[in-house]
Subunit: 404 residues, 4 copies
Amino acid sequence: MSRQPATTAAGDELVQRYQGIRRHSLALAEGLSAEDCQLQSIPEASPVKWHLAHTSWFFETFILLRLPTPVAAFNPAYAVLFNSYYVGIGPRHARPQRGLLSRPSLEQVLAYREHVDRHLSELLADNQLGADALALVELGLNHEQQHQELLLTDLKHHFSCNPLLPAWRPSGPDPAMPEHNRHAPRRLPLPGGLVEVGHTGAGFCYDNETPRHRVWLEPFALASRNVTNVEYLEFMLDGGYQRPELWLSDGWDAVCEGGWQAPLYWQHGDEGWQVFTLHGPMAMEPAATLSHVSFYEADAFARWAGARLPTEAEWEHAATRSTEVEGLHDEVWQWCNSAYLPYPGFRPAAGAVGEYNGKFMINQMVLRGGSLATPPGHSRPSYRNFFPPWARWQFSGIRLAWDA
Amino acid sequence: MSRQPATTAAGDELVQRYQGIRRHSLALAEGLSAEDCQLQSIPEASPVKWHLAHTSWFFETFILLRLPTPVAAFNPAYAVLFNSYYVGIGPRHARPQRGLLSRPSLEQVLAYREHVDRHLSELLADNQLGADALALVELGLNHEQQHQELLLTDLKHHFSCNPLLPAWRPSGPDPAMPEHNRHAPRRLPLPGGLVEVGHTGAGFCYDNETPRHRVWLEPFALASRNVTNVEYLEFMLDGGYQRPELWLSDGWDAVCEGGWQAPLYWQHGDEGWQVFTLHGPMAMEPAATLSHVSFYEADAFARWAGARLPTEAEWEHAATRSTEVEGLHDEVWQWCNSAYLPYPGFRPAAGAVGEYNGKFMINQMVLRGGSLATPPGHSRPSYRNFFPPWARWQFSGIRLAWDA
Amino acid sequence: MSRQPATTAAGDELVQRYQGIRRHSLALAEGLSAEDCQLQSIPEASPVKWHLAHTSWFFETFILLRLPTPVAAFNPAYAVLFNSYYVGIGPRHARPQRGLLSRPSLEQVLAYREHVDRHLSELLADNQLGADALALVELGLNHEQQHQELLLTDLKHHFSCNPLLPAWRPSGPDPAMPEHNRHAPRRLPLPGGLVEVGHTGAGFCYDNETPRHRVWLEPFALASRNVTNVEYLEFMLDGGYQRPELWLSDGWDAVCEGGWQAPLYWQHGDEGWQVFTLHGPMAMEPAATLSHVSFYEADAFARWAGARLPTEAEWEHAATRSTEVEGLHDEVWQWCNSAYLPYPGFRPAAGAVGEYNGKFMINQMVLRGGSLATPPGHSRPSYRNFFPPWARWQFSGIRLAWDA
Amino acid sequence: MSRQPATTAAGDELVQRYQGIRRHSLALAEGLSAEDCQLQSIPEASPVKWHLAHTSWFFETFILLRLPTPVAAFNPAYAVLFNSYYVGIGPRHARPQRGLLSRPSLEQVLAYREHVDRHLSELLADNQLGADALALVELGLNHEQQHQELLLTDLKHHFSCNPLLPAWRPSGPDPAMPEHNRHAPRRLPLPGGLVEVGHTGAGFCYDNETPRHRVWLEPFALASRNVTNVEYLEFMLDGGYQRPELWLSDGWDAVCEGGWQAPLYWQHGDEGWQVFTLHGPMAMEPAATLSHVSFYEADAFARWAGARLPTEAEWEHAATRSTEVEGLHDEVWQWCNSAYLPYPGFRPAAGAVGEYNGKFMINQMVLRGGSLATPPGHSRPSYRNFFPPWARWQFSGIRLAWDA
């Protein structure tokens, strides 16, 4: 799946990178109890313990168990317990029941991680892996980073279901209040034309970012920054959640059935709007970057604002074109008005890892950018994140676009 | 919504066209009892009586009630009963309960149609309508034709739920067995490049076909004809419905939850495969054009066949480019691997008819072409039909494409 | 199932009775269109046409097709279409899909009725039926009468779903305003002791009314009449639907999930409470007997009133004991705080008609009495009606009881 | 609720009893991890941690917080978190979300228990509680014992959802294999007549066991022991789960919808039937007492066996009448064909504890006896256990009865 495996990296350097990324997962779980790590509040959000185990399963399954002389399975039962959705690998424990696995304990999962890390570190240090295996290591590390963000978004949802509203840390990755949020956004004009999108260069990418291909874009403009809480509040105060004409038909159904009146995690109380964050409940910060809205809300807000959402090609083109377009990546994932579909000429990666992306190319919308919870260096302009249009538990916000 | 209203048509000619199209709806319902016309088997499929009333409501609401001197409402209650989804017009009777309207009777609905037709005919004959109203007449006639096809696809589903398996007519619009189905399909090569798609020319189109715009296409090939029953049967016999690796993830879920083993309306019995049609059950005809598959099935079949589905831009470009590309329109609607989204620069038509198309641009896939149930002249190369990926009760089939 | 078949009745008399009851079903459907007769608004409520056909199926299946020389089936497909729940007879068309049977037409169903009636009349007139068959005729006639009431309660529900609120007749069987409703109810004291309940005497009864058996009753009192609308309104105005402490736990869940605020068919508008009836919407009549409440509501009302619901044994004992206890039968069915369970020594009737009652003896509560929609002479003090505690579409009301 | 509070017990004795019962709850949780204690597999089954907290909440809420000088709340948030269903006390954390409470931790819950125990022990030792409070202590202890059994039945279900099939202990309370299971059961004849049932004597009872009252019983016979696995297997081999005529209508629906083919926890594998127990999976033991069947299955089995289920009055009368009727209590709870309804003259206990039993008297069937998981001395002949007819996760079995 990695198009340019990092085979030239010296073993030591790679070991350090491997261990650094793996350690970061543990660092995220630090301070959480075994009970915290087992929570599962909705089928879509997995327990922290499961994230820690599944990412290890990935390395074990695709590398350790497939070596010419395979490493003995740490526990054969894990093959089923921690397989997420790889039908090609075998049966899977049902996703909605991940929170029912008190066994293995968190301690055993940590031992599993150590086992995997010990073997991987050795293999990497001794340069024992061929190009294919190294490409899978690279994929596994990116996979681990994806799960680091999911670990936090999922945990946030789990904790939000506890009336005690626990905090993960005294301070956390949300909310973002960059300086540019204090000023009105500018419209960055882009001339369009026949442009190229999709991954390029020597670094890692997922198969869904390929092949690089040409796209014709009409001239357009992109907002210089993401929508803030106070801007979204205006929409709410203008009856945004009460006016069906602003919404897609399915979006309006979601508003009515879900009783949506505000972004996820907003709660109105005696002292105004409160927002639940990873460091506990806090007063809604007007200048903070808006987060936790669905595609439906993003689309309705854009319509209300006399704007629209960008397509993913527009977004990517803008992100790569000029230094003036900055700060696209680092606050919230930004909903695009693009369905998550294969690029022209797309071929899934060979083998079971071909299930990584391709089979989800339906019923989802693309998000671009990244968030405060995205590990530094993980995302890139060609990165395609994707979620169903109703999803709100990710760090998902809004960047507006306009026809020229 | 019509971009080029037919204002130059002589009144008489337009009256005849109006009456011809309106009469055709009645002709489709001929031979059906009032009981048949009231059936509603699923929320998505409306009763024949409702189709007959709703299409009349459309003309009454958007023209007769908005004349400088409005025609008195035939029955004020119909404003709610026969409004489909126009929030801008007012409240609506719930869609799943359309089959519960024994009143008004079919007879009263036919009187409603006569009332509307008498007034419209007069207005048209006397050239009393301005350009805007004439554009709405044109829209109403195209709307009527859309419902003529829905009337048949819906009726087919309603009848399929009766163990007596009633026939609409001794012979009907399905299945199609064009001569070219007897031969292997050819791959028609298309060079791609920067092409234009979207409606062009003086005729009517829906707002969703506009604006015409440029799209870059890589070289590709399109099958010279649609997939046949026997070709799909091969896929079935090769375990098509038992092999998750052939399916999108959501598609496989649909297979499992719906217990899908064959296209809708196929039933295996002692004498092999039977297919329920509008003229009753009949033996599955191997050379007939395959119909009643979902996007999921179309996609899985294409994957199995080492091909893919075309994008809507590819399809449209091919359909307009060369005389060699023939027969695209007239057998079944063809699933495209394109989500139903707005074209660059899309603006919904002004007023309540702006709800006609735009608000449904999410969670649906595009179909192109037309079917034996599509009124002649109704479809065109730029025509965008759309249904959710799980829908199977339309005359929806498969045309394969390949990368060059 | 009949314990004392009416074999001694002269043939002519029986023919007349048979024809009278059968004609009454038709009389109830008079004035309804074929479309009206096809309506099915909820799975629990069947179309009028289905009632007319099913009652005929009962006579055909259990008598005509089982004669030494069976009468040829009117239409073999009806065996499945109009079998309600007799597993012993064979497969059944799914209950929620009864409204999807536009074929056979109402006309054909009426012909079916004529066919059955012609043959039955002949057999009865000529005294050709043995005791077993005559007992089944008796059962069939009582079955027909049960469906006469269901036909009306079901039709009422179907019509209530049409915003036009159609009327069955200019005047109908609801509501009841007997003279005694103008006065406060009295508490009729009953001494209790070892009493007998269950059917006795020579007349027909269902198997579920047998065997007659002894029950010990503590002294109690029964209200001299049923609860009226205005009495129930007091409960509502006292916060009846907002106070969980008045309700059974499952009842409170039903209130919350169903959004119950009043009895079924009550609607509050500009001019106060309106009630939908079989003769259309009308102003709520304070002195009318309350109807269309669930067991949950009956139970909560009784608790609020410092009373309780009677047991079925108490009710039956009171109904048979003294002339002072009058008017128990003829206004609404009265919820008892008795689960529908077999009497000591109960044996279901032999053969497929043994499914008539016994297999429903779980998850239902008993109602006693009768309603304005019950055919005269059909009910009796030992008659056990039964519905789930949430059911509200029957003519079900409340009679209070008290411990002595 | 206790009719005869144990006020005469010397303080010391009561302290010891209190501490003994409370310690037993902890003993049951011994060896379980904090993760194990948080599992919740279905809404009906609570986490072990929640049981430990809720039982403490009961003592705190009804005694410590209501003292003339109330003990300060251990944590005010617990009022909501650990209130089960006492609407009179205030809001409650939603039952299906009890498994989402990683906070408070198990450790904090244990500290909560210590806090409650310290205060209660002092109060009891110093004879500081009046009769009402002592009655509530008695109720709280019986409540604790009820939850001790639920803790085990719930844990068993939670563990059964983990493919690793964890064991609670090397040996556990199931299954029972008393000597009498080796022999055919006898039919113990009971003459019936006017008998008394309901609680009597000086000991504790729940309000639902009162008042003691007279019931008329026809002569009947009761099996001398409960049904065994091998006896139930005969029913299965005779097509028990495939023959609708053996089942109540709702029971047959449960079989079809739930795909029931055997009792809960039975699994057929290569080596025959395996049964999941609290000490892990083991081979099905033919002579063991059958457990984990629903009322529906008990009823169908009885019908197949030419017998019936006893009524609760029959069961209680038999259990108290003669020394020959022994062993009724101690193996499995036995489904009775009696709906859980109030006894004649029943009055719920005063105050919020009146919600303990009365509001659940609908839609449930009575079970009598006790199980190996019932704390010794907790049950008694007049004890009324109750669950919905579909419930299978309790230690529920079958004792047959016959009409004389």
